[in-house]
Each structure stands twice: as C-alpha cells, then as structure tokens.
Point group: C2
Chain length 123, copies 2
C-alpha cells in the first residue's frame, strides 16, 4: 500500500484557491506586457498596440477591459479630433510591477544558466 501521505507543511496563507484566483490577475500571455508598458505613464490604445507588436486589437481590447474591470488600470476618453482613449495604471496595478520584475529576473538567470552549464534540459 505504499507510503502514507504526509500533511503539507506549507503555511496556510495562500491556501491554493486564493493562489489560483490571484494568479488569474495576470491571465493570458499579454496582461503582464500591458501592465508593464503602462508602468511608465498613460498610454493610448494604438500606442500599446505598437508597444506589443504581436498582440492583436481583439486581444488587447479584451485584456484592457478585463484589467479595467479588475481595477488594475483606468480608462479615460480624450476629446481629440479623432477620438482617442488613454489607459493608466492604478495604484494597485503598480503593485504588480515588482512581481513581474521578480519573475523576469528568475527567467533571466535561468537563460544564463542554460548557456553556462551542461544541463540544457529546457525545451
């Protein structure tokens, strides 16, 4: 019958459901990019599209609406000749920047290691 299951020693704070739920803040491949490019100040739809070349208007629009709904970014319509819309990062949205930076840092180290060591393994 094998080994008995040991109780998890991870302290309760994020008991799994919250974790998954919170991670969905950055759902999709592009949400982190949107947040990143808004970190330096307001940015218009077309500008973001230009910042993130691979993103389609459809997905960018979806992410922006999603992040706005979650309170991570703000939306402001400008009264210009051709109507333009400006997006800004909220205070809460700014708090995600350190997290993104942390992940990027690990990813960078990881790539450096793969090139240095003899254990590629990575895909």
């Amino acid at each position: 019958m094998g080994l008995p299951l040991r109780k998890s020693k991870v302290d309760a704070p994020p008991p799994i459901c919250p974790l998954t739920e919170c991670m969905s803040l950055l759902r999709g491949a592009w949400a982190p990019n949107v947040i990143w490019y808004l970190s330096a100040g307001p940015r218009r739809f077309g500008e973001l599209r230009h910042d993130i070349p691979r993103i389609s208007a459809r997905v960018l629009s979806a992410r922006l609406r999603e992040l706005e709904g979650k309170g991570l970014i703000g939306r402001r319509v400008l009264a210009t000749s051709p109507p333009s819309v400006e997006y800004t990062l909220t205070a809460l949205g700014h708090e995600l920047i350190p997290a993104i930076k942390a992940i990027v840092e690990v990813g960078t180290k990881l790539k450096a290691q793969v090139h240095t060591k003899r254990r590629p393994a990575g895909k």
Copy 2:
C-alpha cells in the same frame, strides 16, 4: 490625422520578448501551485495531487516535467516497495516564491477593495 504616437518611456530592461518568455515560466494555471506546494520541502506525486485537488494527473505530470526541464524543480525516484517519486524545488525555483507572494498580495488587496468600495466593476 490624430495624435502622433509617443515613444514608450519604459526603460529597456525587459523589452517585451524577454518579458513574455519569462512569464511563461509560470505558464498554465497550475505551475504556481506546484511551486508553492514544493516550497516547504520535497513532495511526492500523489501528495501534490492531494494538495491541488482540482488538478488532473495528466496536467500535474505535464507541469512537473516542464518545470523540471526548466531547472526549477528536481525529481528523485525512491526505492520503495510501490515505487514513489519525490519532487523538490531547486534554488532557482525558490526564487519564484517572492514573485508569487507579491501577486497573491495584490490579488488579496483587490478582493478586499471590491468588498469595501462601491466600484465592483469586476466580473
């Protein structure tokens, strides 16, 4: 003809491609959970399955292999009667914990706000 596109003011460090690439470290909804539950020490396949009830064996197996390939976790086969396998977080894997914590923190604040303020907006 509208407004000219302003140059992005975000400092170059993670110029987008690296960002997306690094974010894929936590690809999938379950990778963060796997890393989280390994943060307290070695854990066997079945234990992880028990830790993360909603995950299927197929996906857990896929994530474990993926994370192992990236060098974030280690795999060790134990010579027990019914063969068992133990997974551990590597040093690099441990470095992702702060990032996950940061995201969870924002998510928690977000939920608190939704309950407090009058701006649900969220889905």
